[in-house]
């Protein structure tokens, strides 16, 4: 989506045009859902998180200062929604229903591989998982991730390198 079109749509959305907002959303819908799946490990939670973040984003769109930043802005909201949902889930002492993601795992499972990406991610620490998902799935730079996780960007880079190495080993790449 060109930045001119984005700007135009953001302006329309700011004036209450839900259709325009829907178009903005559509461009990132798949990325958002996939991101939420990886993050929460559950497609039903992911669905809730995406719709919740869409509601918040539309309501708060006036706070978006730069139209170009729409993607990173809406992902930030999604990230917070996912965190909240996961936190509640863990607090309720429920195990995250892995079965719910079976179709996801299946979609990702390579014939030659014993371990899916989802399983591999679960073996990492939360921080490593956050960093990898934010980077590979949402396309954030180490600096942006650092801001979100309260880490220095050099720290993010080194952690990302290590986590990637682990993932690589687990996935036999």
């Amino acid at each position: 989506m060109s930045s001119k079109i984005t700007k135009d749509l953001v302006n329309k959305a700011k004036n209450g045009d839900a259709e325009a907002f829907g178009e903005l959303y559509e461009a990132y819908a798949k990325d958002m859902f996939r991101f939420a799946c990886y993050y929460t490990g559950s497609s039903s939670l992911a669905e809730d998180c995406v719709s919740e973040s869409v509601c918040i984003a539309f309501e708060k769109i006036a706070t978006l200062k730069k139209a170009d930043a729409f993607k990173s802005w809406i992902f930030k909201i999604l990230f917070n929604c996912c965190k909240k949902a996961l936190s509640e889930k863990i607090r309720q002492r429920e195990t995250v229903e892995i079965s719910a993601v079976s179709h996801l795992s299946a979609a990702l499972q390579d014939e030659n591989e014993k371990i899916s990406l989802q399983n591999a991610l679960e073996k990492l620490s939360e921080e490593e998982r956050d960093i990898l998902i934010l980077h590979y799935s949402a396309g954030y730079t180490s600096k942006e991730i650092g801001e979100m996780l309260n880490l220095k960007d050099a720290t993010v880079r080194s952690k990302m390198m290590r986590a990637t190495a682990k993932l690589r080993e687990m996935l036999h790449i």
Partner: protein
């Protein structure tokens, strides 16, 4: 063999494989949902706003500004305001600030005028100033987010979560002052208990842990690593409260610092890094703290101090925007949703696109007015005495030689200092000044009898040497005295001032501790020095005659960055300081190197404590890179010796205790009990015999134990870097 790029590509592809989008999340369904739920965009936060101009009018103003101002400054030294302007401004200025400040304002204006400091003439002038900068070529970049990068380098903003990844000695830290003795009256007859390690006795500093003699207030982490406030009762060793601080959209604030004063808990939080919020709680019911008040302040959180119950918060606000309109709207920072009135915006650096914003309010009074001011300029660190707050930053002066006076002025680094006077909630901008060199940390500063003393260090390109100095500045931040070339070609590592004496540790190969006598502020003199291997990154006075240094070990040639060394100096003879005892911990790093507040001092028992992070190979066991092992070292000082030492193991004894990343590690005490705290556990030990007595899990037990299981049962991975 696959290349690195291929591998990364493959991993990236894995993350981006197609996942079918559920029908409920299709565009049309989402739009329908928004309509069904009747969700509408809210209007932008309503600040007390000047009237909004149309695009055409803005353009006209831009053109006019550019033409009208031409070469001259955008600002004037203001004595009286244009009457019409004033009238129009009163329409949008908050009522509170109108009358009370008028009188004092004129005094300051005169003083500052003499010093050449300008005040914004009107709010629209200020906005236009930024628009003008924005439209000028080359300034565009200043509005880019990349500005934060500079911030991080120069920064040194003490965030509690900052990870000191590569144990570099450059970020040295000094710490503890005389034991702070603020009000324990409400806990009459209670046992002595630990307090935040403060630089100035009467100036409280925000911390991640506060201890009131029975309850511990801790900034902990929830299962997904959002910060929350946890209250632990040390009587029962149980977590009695824990909760996130949320905004109206359920977004969790990142809690940076807390204060505790007479049952009022104050939390300083940030959201998206450029908004700062102060939230106060009444903790009369410990298990159910009640929120009293929320104060918001634009800008990145820099630091804060509390004197009595008055909180001073410093933020750094960057003017951002990618269009003229955005720049105009963002041109002035706000506090409590009110723009800071223009006569309180001091123009220190006209070229700056950043403001330092300072606010003050009394946390004990729920409805007390919030006073605020700002200066156009920047600063990322603070030092505060009871009456003056100093905000400083490192800057780079590309100035060439000024060989005219025989003295050469080639220093690449300079420190800009801005001073604000504090008197309850009455805050005023006092002065700005510049000195050569950079400072190690807030302990490089000290105010004594109205003069400011600052130890700095800079690199002299002319003779390829480091130059360390101490400057004495008067109330107007003009240099009135100095000692330069303290050590030949050595860098300042830590500083401590006590009354008329200053202690400076410099380092190249060995660690000289210098004693400087400041009894005549205009003629400070070095009176004594002692050289020892390694260097201290932090100095703590123990009574009049002793000084403890904590830092790195070393031999004649080099510092050994992988060992902790604690030195006890006898400084009773100012001309001949002596290192009377040492204690070395191998393969470890002291947390105090990066966080001065982590130093522990128990004056009643003459104990000092140092939280230590051990390297991963501890006692011959390689832990891979899972977990960090912490212990707490407590040393007793008697008759100029370390007479006993006890190591309190916090984790790492058994595999099951090794956690993933620790965010912090601290110790505090109540009576005979030592509490070692990280973001997962509070462990109680008997401080006299080292016995571990009880344990309390905080934060997110389920999530952690889960991680621990996966982490320790699978084979360790190989480290690739």
């Amino acid at each position: 063999m696959k290349s690195n790029e291929d591998i990364l590509k493959e991993i990236e592809n894995k993350f981006n494989e197609d996942v079918p989008l559920p029908e409920s999340l299709s565009k049309s369904n989402v739009v329908k949902m928004l309509e069904d739920k009747n969700i509408r965009p809210q209007k932008a936060k309503v600040k007390v706003l000047p009237k909004i101009m149309s695009a055409a009018a803005i353009l006209a103003v831009v053109l006019c500004t550019v033409i009208a101002f031409g070469m001259r400054s955008d600002f004037e030294v203001v004595k009286t305001q244009d009457e019409t302007e004033q009238a129009s401004q009163e329409n949008f200025r908050p009522e509170s600030s109108q009358e009370t400040e008028k009188e004092t304002e004129t005094d300051i204006t005169e003083e500052l005028e003499a010093a050449g400091i300008m005040v914004a003439k009107s709010e629209s002038d200020l906005r236009n100033h930024f628009v003008k900068m924005y439209t000028k070529d080359g300034i565009y970049n200043f509005f880019d987010d990349s500005i934060e990068y500079v911030f991080d380098i120069v920064g040194g903003v003490s965030t509690d979560t900052a990870v000191n990844d590569n144990m570099q000695p450059t970020v040295a830290a000094t710490a503890a002052p005389m034991a702070p003795q603020y009000s324990t009256s409400e806990l009459k007859g209670s046992a002595p208990h630990g307090q935040t390690n403060l630089q100035e006795e009467k100036v409280d500093e925000g911390d991640i842990i506060k201890n009131d003699g029975r309850y511990l207030y801790i900034i902990s982490y929830d299962p997904v690593n959002q910060t929350e406030i946890t209250v632990v009762d040390t009587k029962t060793m149980s977590e009695i409260y824990s909760g996130l601080i949320l905004d109206e959209y359920s977004r969790a604030f990142s809690i940076r610092d807390i204060y505790f004063n007479n049952n009022i808990l104050t939390a300083i939080c940030t959201l998206d890094k450029d908004e700062t919020f102060v939230v106060t709680y009444d903790t009369t019911e410990k298990h159910n703290p009640k929120e009293i008040r929320r104060v918001d302040q634009d800008g990145y959180y820099v630091s804060s101090r509390m004197v009595g119950s008055v909180l001073y918060t410093v933020t750094n606000y960057s003017v951002r925007g990618s269009t003229v309109e955005e720049v105009k709207n963002n041109a002035i920072p706000s506090v409590c949703d009110c723009y800071i009135p223009c006569e309180k915006c001091y123009i220190v650096d006209e070229e700056s696109t950043r403001y330092i914003v300072l606010s003050a309010f009394d946390t004990a009074k729920p409805d007390a007015e919030v006073s605020s001011l700002s200066i156009l300029g920047s600063g990322f660190n603070t030092y505060s005495s009871e009456n003056t707050l100093y905000v400083y930053e490192t800057d780079y002066d590309r100035g060439e030689t000024d060989g005219s006076e025989g003295e050469s002025y080639i220093y690449s680094e300079i420190t800009n200092i801005h001073a604000f006077s504090l008197d309850g909630t009455n805050i005023k901008f006092k002065a700005s000044g510049t000195i050569p060199g950079t400072c190690v940390n807030q302990y490089s500063f000290d105010e004594y009898k109205g003069n400011l003393r600052v130890a700095t260090c800079y690199y002299n390109y002319k003779n390829d040497k480091d130059v360390s100095s101490v400057y004495i500045l008067d109330g107007k931040l003009e240099i009135i005295g100095k000692v330069t070339d303290i050590a030949d070609d050595e860098q300042v590592k830590s500083v401590r001032f006590m009354g008329e004496t200053g202690y400076v540790v410099t380092f190249r190969n060995t660690d000289p501790l210098f004693i400087i006598d400041f009894s005549d502020p205009k003629k400070p003199v070095i009176t004594g020095e002692v050289k020892i291997p390694g260097f201290s990154s932090y100095l703590h006075p123990i009574g009049e005659n002793y000084l403890v240094g904590v830092g790195y070990d070393g031999d004649e040639q080099n510092a050994n960055l992988s060992s902790v060394k604690v030195s006890l100096f006898d400084v009773s003879d100012k001309t001949a300081p002596k290192e009377v005892d040492t204690f070395v911990i191998k393969d470890a790093t002291a947390v105090t190197n990066s966080d001065t507040k982590a130093f522990f001092y128990y004056p009643e028992k003459s104990l000092i404590g140092i939280p230590v992070q051990h390297q991963r190979t501890h006692n011959g066991t390689d832990y891979g890179y899972y977990g960090e092992i912490y212990s707490f070292k407590v040393l007793k000082i008697e008759n100029g010796k370390f007479t006993s030492n006890i190591g309190f193991m916090h984790n790492g004894e058994e595999n099951s205790n090794i956690r993933f990343y620790n965010r912090f590690f601290r110790g505090t005490y109540v009576g005979n009990m030592l509490y070692t705290i990280d973001n997962y556990n509070v462990i109680e030990h008997n401080i006299d015999n080292g016995e571990k007595t009880r344990e309390c899990v905080i934060g997110s037990p389920e999530s952690n134990s889960q991680s621990v299981v996966t982490g320790t049962t699978s084979a360790p991975y190989i480290i690739y870097d």
